[in-house]
């Protein structure tokens, strides 16, 4: 018995197991990461008609799609966190979206319209909770030069940040159309800073 174990743990086999493990690890991790990155592209997002024919069409009219400087923010830039932990959490949450895709929850324009407020609320809450983290990947308020902002934007930004507001509190419906907010309760209206 002892001899067998000894033989098994002979130098050669240990080294070979370590090497094999390393190689399979690289392959699996690399494959996992690549697959994850594929799901993190605009192409992947609009491979579903629900995205392509609703939100993507709206987004193409906005400044995050086309602007003077040519910097474009695509779907994952705003909707998927950049940091690994947050990204993983969001990706696991996204399995619910796959489930609803299979159910066909929003597969017609009518269904999409009816469900839109629910989806918008969840995204507004996610953004607010994370202090508009994805906005701040580009628009960090510490880097804002108020003196270069327009006469209406500058005082509002200063006041807003003083109140502890975050981007999404005011900048709603900037990349997609606003949902019908009539169904919101007064508390929710206050939560989302809507009049």
């Amino acid at each position: 018995m002892f001899a067998r174990t000894k033989r098994f743990l002979s130098k050669r086999s240990v080294i070979s197991v370590v090497i094999m493990g390393f190689i399979t690890g690289v392959i699996f991790w690399g494959g996992f990461n690549t697959a994850l990155e594929i799901t993190n592209t605009e192409e992947f997002c609009i491979s579903c008609h629900e995205m392509k024919e609703n939100v993507y069409v709206e987004y193409r009219q906005t400044i995050h799609y086309q602007n003077r400087t040519g910097v474009r923010a695509t779907c994952p830039d705003c909707h998927v966190p950049k940091e690994w932990t947050h990204k993983m959490i969001r990706k696991i949450e996204a399995s619910r979206e796959v489930f609803h895709k299979i159910l066909g929850t929003i597969d017609t324009p009518k269904k999409f319209r009816d469900y839109r407020l629910t989806m918008a609320k969840s995204e507004w809450r996610r953004m607010k909770k994370a202090d508009s983290r994805e906005c701040r990947n580009c628009h960090e308020y510490g880097s804002m030069d108020y003196s270069m902002q327009s006469r209406r934007a500058s005082p509002q930004h200063i006041a807003g940040f003083k109140e502890g507001k975050t981007c999404i509190d005011c900048h709603k419906g900037i990349a997609h159309k606003m949902p019908d907010t009539k169904a919101l309760t007064p508390e929710e209206r206050k939560e989302f800073n809507l009049n």
């Binding site: 009219q61 906005t62 400044i63 327009s150 006469r151 209406r152 934007a153 509002q156 419906g173 900037i174 159309k177 606003m178 949902p179 019908d180 907010t181 009539k182 009049n195």
Partner: protein, 206 residues
Amino acid sequence: MRAYIMKNKVVLTIALTFFMLGSTTNTLAEDTPSATTKTETTSTEKVSKEAPDVAKKSEQEKAPEPKKVKVMTKPIEKTVYDFSGVNSLRGNNGLKEMALPTKSKQLPADRAPIERNYFQQPPLVPHRVREYQITINNNKCLACHSWKTYQKSGATKISQTHFEDREGNAQSTVAARRYFCNQCHVPQVDAKPLVENEFKPVDDLK
């Protein structure tokens, strides 16, 4: 007499060829419109000096050549770019040249409220309104200009007249016919008027 006419015809043809040559070189050298117009006028003057004599004589004698005479008296109109102040949209470019791209008008990002010019003029929008959604669900303008929000945002309040329907009945919300702000309220680019305008607003509106 016949020989005299022949002689005249030769002179005429020579003059014609010179004129044609002149005009063709004009079209080639279109870069300096002022110069081309000058040369053109001189060549036509030369021709027109001789032209009436020929016309008279040919009329007296035999079948004239009206086509040529016509060409002499009325030179082909081209490469003259003076439209007395009125230009086509292509500008003063020759047909062979490409029109220059027009300068796009920039919308100023933000400025002080623009003065009104006449009584009951809808106020102009002194800021950019790109992406301001005015949909069935949302009116971005009213995020600042509504009665609820105007004080906080320091914006102009929406007029009470906008709550009346066409029969003059007051509504609790903005009337449907007044909902689409940019039907009347529009931003302004910094464009000089094409035609001089001496209109002045009434003193009381200043």
